[in-house]
Symmetry: C2
Subunit: 415 residues, 2 copies
């Protein structure tokens, strides 16, 4: 394990890359633009950030971002900086100001992206991490193995509580494992949180009593902290098994307050991720960003899906999903369940499983279930069959020969 | 005032711009990729986002961001979308998921930036806004008019509490109005929050008893919510007059919990702003982003400074500062004090005042005070003189003829 805080960046610069990296290190620790009294060599030795590694990757045509110092040639480099733990202590909000603070706008760089970071064990002791993760989620949902097949309440916003519950009943009857609110629906006046939870839990309880299967429903409780805690308590008291939060909306302050309170898995929604990540030379890579929320207490994290309807490519999706399951500390893995979504149908499970190597995930489909020509029950069945085929290593078309739900789904979603 | 939630975006697309805008509107309200049962025309009418305005600005050479649908020509357009208030109610965290959620990564756009938004009056009632703002801050700091001259404790991190207090004493003696912790220093083991506040308040109290002037010190209390509340209470109990928070580190959840608790002005630090904004076709513009924090309760907000050491240009700095003072609602202006910083010296006040038209601001300098050849007291004096000249409309060099502190500072910082 590391004893200092370490962060890796993709950096782009037109000045000497070592000099640029040292400016970043200085700016984010004891340095200033102008040397000031008190900035002694002892202090720098004690508190200064260090450049641990510098790999120049090559030159590129021109600067990706405006406002940088110009030079004869723009190079990309991968750098690793490190900080002594005592600069911040094991403190997640203040870690952000250190590794992702005032450095993306420095003139010394025309691009900077935080790729990953590693933390000393003290952070593992200081923060909850996922309290349910993969195993706890499987247990609560009654899904011992294979993917959890899920869906999202759609239309995204506009259904009232009883319409939401009616749809939840249909989906439960279809055999779904997991349902989530849309991130646009938390506590809107047309669909207040409490009424929605009561209506949905009534139908899910009925379904559970009839079938023995308690569908996991992630209720979107995003809001202020006292509200989130009260909403959590309501869900728990009514026998619900999951809560959802838009992490960029509540921030680490909101997430930590919820995580230290929760008795249910936290489904972390990443909406807004695009503004943090879409330019490849700026912002956050998913493995870095997700570590904040994993350590703070997320149990499920969204990773998009293969051949999705957004701009993210498949390599990025797979790297994100893999990172969710990679241990953060020796003492605390902080493994979270990756949540696949966006245009997912029976067409993607094969490649998803082949590239990811595990079915420890939540696989959500909307049209991929509801639009199945034989209805949602056959839609859910077809998705399970697609995953069964992938896990068994049998091509979907071969498997479909003896599995008509999958066969008709393959025909339908290819057309 | 608006009755619907309205948001303006700079959009870049290779498909028909109206179609792209309608996809954004659908994705962020009742639409889905595939039409689903229940998505009735009544529901769309009630809950759907509307395209209010579309101005095509012209075509550009190629897409700014990867992953977009390609087409024969990339155009930029300014669009305004609107949502009915009842989709979210007056709810700031869930507003974020609506106006800045899953839309930056849509394939229909190769660039999307949230320029501004306007909210119905219900939001003004639901949120605290700045409780001190310009007037309350001036009153607490004892600075009736003109800029508040401030500085930042440097080195950024590494000083212990007594070293910090010694520096604060020097700065107080130099006649400063305002001091802030660096954002890298909150509660690190080498400089614990409580010890630092006690040490600093001791020297500031001594100074106040001697001179009658209580220097405003923004103590960086960034952390988890209970910690922030306790730290706030400590500062208040010891007679401190300001707290500081890194807003991107604590998020709206943290900020709102602090704002609903605070009895002191909140100095909002924007570190991390670069990853939200540096690409001109992606993310957030400052007038939009800062409105979240203004309504949530910030009293001071960082806006960088003219000819700064970062990548931001002067037009952007001035637009940001102006936006801080523009009213958000008829019933609640939410005006916050803009905080200038980064490489500021006697050289920038003239243009800053000329372009901004007000001295309702905090003007912080580090080297611009400490590096003055006659020491920090002359440094502070020179900055005040530079502002006096600007406000009087007298060129700095003319004013310097009878003001030796300014004269030597102009010489020094020009060299």
């Amino acid at each position: 394990m590391v004893v200092r805080i370490e962060a890796d960046y993709l950096m782009e610069t037109s000045i000497d890359p070592e000099r640029a990296a040292l400016v970043l290190a200085g700016e984010q620790s004891s340095g200033t633009f102008v040397a000031v009294p008190g900035e002694t060599s002892e202090l720098k030795e004690r508190s200064g950030a260090r450049l641990e590694k510098l790999d120049v990757l090559g030159s590129i045509a021109g600067p990706s971002l405006p406002g940088a110092k110009s030079g004869s040639c723009v190079v990309q480099a991968k750098i690793t900086l490190s900080w002594p733990l005592q600069n911040t202590g094991p403190d997640l909000p203040n870690l952000m100001a250190t590794i992702a603070g005032n450095l993306f706008e420095l003139q010394e760089v025309s691009g900077l992206r935080l790729l990953d970071f590693r933390l000393p064990e003290a952070f593992a002791k200081a923060y909850p991490g996922p309290q349910f993760g993969v195993d706890g989620t499987r247990q609560l949902a009654g899904v011992a193995k294979g993917p959890m097949i899920g869906t999202i309440i759609k239309p995204s916003v506009g259904l009232n509580p009883s319409e939401t519950a009616a749809l939840a009943a249909t989906l439960a009857k279809a055999g779904i494992d997991f349902i989530k609110d849309d991130e646009l629906q938390a506590n809107g006046p047309s669909c207040p949180f409490e009424e929605r939870v009561r209506a949905v839990m009534t139908v899910l309880d009925e379904h559970s009593q009839r079938t023995g299967k308690k569908v996991m429903y992630a209720f979107n409780l995003t809001g202020e902290i006292d509200d989130m805690r009260a909403r959590h308590d309501l869900v728990r008291d009514l026998g619900g098994t999951c809560v959802m939060v838009s992490v960029n909306s509540v921030g680490l302050g909101g997430m930590l307050a919820l995580a230290r309170h929760t008795e249910l898995p936290i489904h972390a929604h990443r909406n807004g991720w695009g503004y943090l990540s879409r330019h490849p030379a700026l912002g956050w890579s998913y493995p870095a960003w997700s570590k904040l929320w994993r350590l703070a207490g997320a149990d499920h994290m969204h990773v998009n899906g293969l051949n999705n309807k957004f701009s993210e490519d498949n390599d990025s999706v797979i790297a994100a999903a893999k990172s969710c399951l990679e241990p953060m500390f020796d003492s605390k893995a902080c493994a979270v369940m990756p949540v696949f979504s966006s245009g997912q149908t029976v067409l993607q499970p094969w490649e998803t499983y082949e590239r990811l190597g595990t079915a420890d995930l939540i696989y959500t489909a909307g049209g991929g279930i509801m639009a199945h020509p034989q209805g949602p029950a056959t839609g859910v069945k077809a998705l399970r069959e697609a995953w069964d085929a992938a896990i068994a290593g049998v091509p979907a078309d071969d498997y479909a020969a003896t599995h008509p739900a999958l066969a008709s789904a393959l025909n339908w979603y290819r057309s």
